[in-house]
Symmetry: D4
Subunit: 170 residues, 8 copies
């Protein structure tokens, strides 16, 4: 239901987290390398066919002059989620601006630098808006996040209480 | 179907373009001021009730330490679209980073600085993924964008041909 | 008297310095994980109850789209001190802007990127303004800083005098 | 109770908002020009005497290589609040970094670029932590902010309802 | 011999200077709107046909997430010159990074923000490298720049000598 | 046919990729250290003689206050390609701005931070515009890039299909 | 005794303040346009002759890829003071980095964006270090700055005392 | 003749290069820790006495909210050279802006991030302007830089000629 594409397989270590998020929600997806600059015609074809092939959203990761998400958005009516992949220099600021600053008419839903996990979760939310069961799973997921954070707080309080000679709670 | 909220009514001149985009696609929406910092409890309530009230997506605009989109995303399973509203200083870079750099677990679909029109169009795409008629309208819209750009090219070529003594096309 | 909270226990290595500063001044404090995005309701509750529970200031650390300090400030009348925790990318610039650029009405006292020690010392100064003994300790602390820096100068002068064949002091 | 100082009277249009905030809470304050670079000795003297003269906090505004807040913090045990005043170029980013990036040991409570109103409100919160009546006024103030924002929402909804042919609430 | 294209006719006020530079060297050119995002297929076709139609270089201007220069470079073997067009926010920094940070394999010759005149002159230099007469004209042009600057110096010296009571040359 | 120069031999690890790209296309080149700041007169002489010695383009790499590309461009009618070499601090942003922001009249064709390979390929494109055989090689090169990217996609799909329990393609 | 040069007469409105500062100290100076990019050979000659002609320091202003100060520093043993002239975009950040980030071996004494007055005053200080009378004048000048700032404080206090109903000094 | 001071002995690894440069020119200097924030009164005293003690210039290094160079400049008529010391985050951009963006009236001669060697060489140039023998040594030094760079070029050409199968010089 979701296409995960990237400009190079070197983006996979970042983009893998999007796939993992979809896995957690048992949402089928496909993964591919579709480089805007090295495979421009295939990239256009990928975007043009995505809707017809049954995809509901595309997650596209790219770095530097990151043109993949925006170009896909220009040839598909589907929502496209862009993941700014950080390169060796500039900490992903170039990737972020190249993806998020799209002109009026062609939106890209941009997530944080290297934020592929959130790209996956955003796709889940898009699907969940039309799938009550998935909405419930997302709500459960949020509760679980809450539980994990609460647990972390408990551990931190214990650790600090044990090591420090002061503390308000005492 | 879509909630458009912002931190202050001073954001309306920017955010209005989101409403206009939804109007063009005849998608019902509501508009409200829900300040993360001045109405924190109402903001949480808005987010918590959004899905139950039938919203399919929330568009949230905010400037500076722009917390509204991210906070709403933390209390709703719906997709939240964030619009970085530029303030008087820093050209919206603070708004952009405050919205897009969300931690893993809670995504915000961020658009460009002041890119409220694209926020509206992104919401349309999310809905269109589950609505064939809307998909067709989005495809028509993209064709129209194409037509307008083509027309602009025609006018520009004519204008340049008229004013310049050289030109490759001659 | 002071609450030290953070978005995740992964912030503790940075935030620990705030606790240590309070320890040095024997000021009681509590430590907890209160994630704005994963525990929004508990976060609001924490802020709402902070004053009633006797806290005089809250120190909140967060990274990226760092919403915790600002959101706490919106639900408590207490002074909130924000610590921008740097993430892997962008060197904490996103954290800094997300914390410091608060809208008029809801201030956050922001310290430097990863400046948790100064957050602790700022809390001490706030308390000291109403506690003559604590003021004296802060003044002593500043004298000690002076002494340490003076000592460093002495050592540096000795080291340079020993290793260099020139030198103005000779 | 609060000293408001700035590097030049040209900073007054920005800094005035701090005074106004203190006025709203009926907190006595003084205003002065104390330039770190043009009056270094007077600046040191101001800082040294501030506590003895009964001040509880200092608000210092400065632009560019903004040294005033940090230098005052180094000669007083009082909490110092720094306001980055934006100059003609760089949008206050230089002022912000010069104020907020203080070394460990000497904190400055930094607010947003040109955020003098929040500097005033932060001083109020510091005082309120030790003054129940002032806490109540701060709580009332926050309720009033809430009321104003709610009112703005009402007006915006009315305005949009009147001008738009669609709308979810209808 | 040179194609000048841009994402929208709103870029023409910036891009016109490229045409003017080519006019000065009597180099034939064509001008068109070829939007990467609104005319993706026509854009690809434009790039694919450019070499066969006899173009020797393409000058492409675009703003924000500026994908046009890079996408053209991916479908033509011709040198592509990119002009970062500044938008209302971010001063063209987004346009610059989106154009210059191309991945290895597909270069774009980037000029300064709004530097369309230099884009034109760069195209002239590329042609001149294979055209001795054009080289001579470029050398003359550089001599003329020199003459103009020298003349400006003369005027400035005269103006300062007249208005100032001091001056080293006296 | 192409001169590759740099401010110091410490730039060679970055600049080597330009030479390698020219090697791949069997284009003769020369390599030298021509420091704008340490060899200003030789640098001017290098630029002045470049065209007469038969060079068709100059590739110049420099870091920090990177003056070499721009200064060479001021003394030659040849196209100059600038490579921003990143230094230890600032990630090459200083190098990039120092090279790309040339004043009107004297263009430098700037590539990405550390993008020496693209500098080489850009020189190839400039030559290819006047050399049909080289054009063909560039077209082949682009086809090869396409093939490599396609191959990477195949491998990635296989890898993901093997390791993941879900997948749209299944 | 001091040379004030700039890349174009359009820099004069900024650079004039350097001349004015020297006028105030009755230090002879000369003013000229010496463009690094449009007059490279004259620029080198200017730098080479500066010391022999009796100059003690050179003040050079330039914008964008601002090469003038650094190039002059490479051909003269004199201290060179660089003034980053802000252009229409990027607020002088490009000018600043192009001037200040000089490689080891060739220093440029950089002042603030558009800080030509300080460039003049820095030259005065360099001369004053070897001229007791000038030192005295600089000391007087600093006392005068102090006096002006003190006066501004007096006026501000009066103004605030008159307009405000509160005030600590009362 | 030159004072080298820094905010902490942790700045010594950066600042040592200034001392080394002075050593190479056999210029006497002194080294000390004079922290603006931890030793404000001693810092003022250091600046006030510097001229009387025979110093001709002060080199001051500091990081983050780097106030030392500017504060010294405010209490001495001597030229002050500021070295932005990079801290763990922000790559020295905060240090650079805090030092270079001084207000009109009080200049600091700023060098590059971590550019202590150039700070030393700048001091040499200031002294050399009034010392013919030192001028000659600076001229020799520049010739030596030239020789070293020329030698590097020779080695690079040899290395490339040996390893590469192509090369223009062959």
């Amino acid at each position: 239901l979701v296409g995960i594409v990237m400009g190079s397989d070197s983006d996979w270590p970042v983009m893998e987290a999007a796939a993992q998020a979809l896995d957690e929600f048992e949402i089928p997806y496909e993964v591919d390398v579709v480089s805007a600059h090295r495979m421009p015609r295939e990239m256009v074809a990928y975007g043009e066919n995505a809707h017809g092939r049954g995809l509901k959203a595309i997650i596209a990761g790219a770095g530097g002059a990151a043109h993949l998400p925006g170009m896909l958005a220009s040839v598909t009516p589907l929502p496209v989620i862009g993941v700014p992949v950080p390169l060796r220099y500039l900490d992903g600021m170039d990737s972020l601006l190249s993806i998020v600053q799209m002109p009026a008419g062609v939106p890209v839903a941009t997530v944080s630098v290297a934020g592929a996990r959130n790209a996956g979760l955003l796709a889940v939310r898009m699907l969940a808006a039309f799938d009550p069961e998935l909405t419930e799973r997302m709500t459960d997921f949020q509760a679980e996040l809450n539980g994990q954070a609460t647990e972390k707080g408990k551990k931190l309080r214990a650790k600090v209480a044990g090591s420090s000679s002061f503390g308000f709670g005492k």
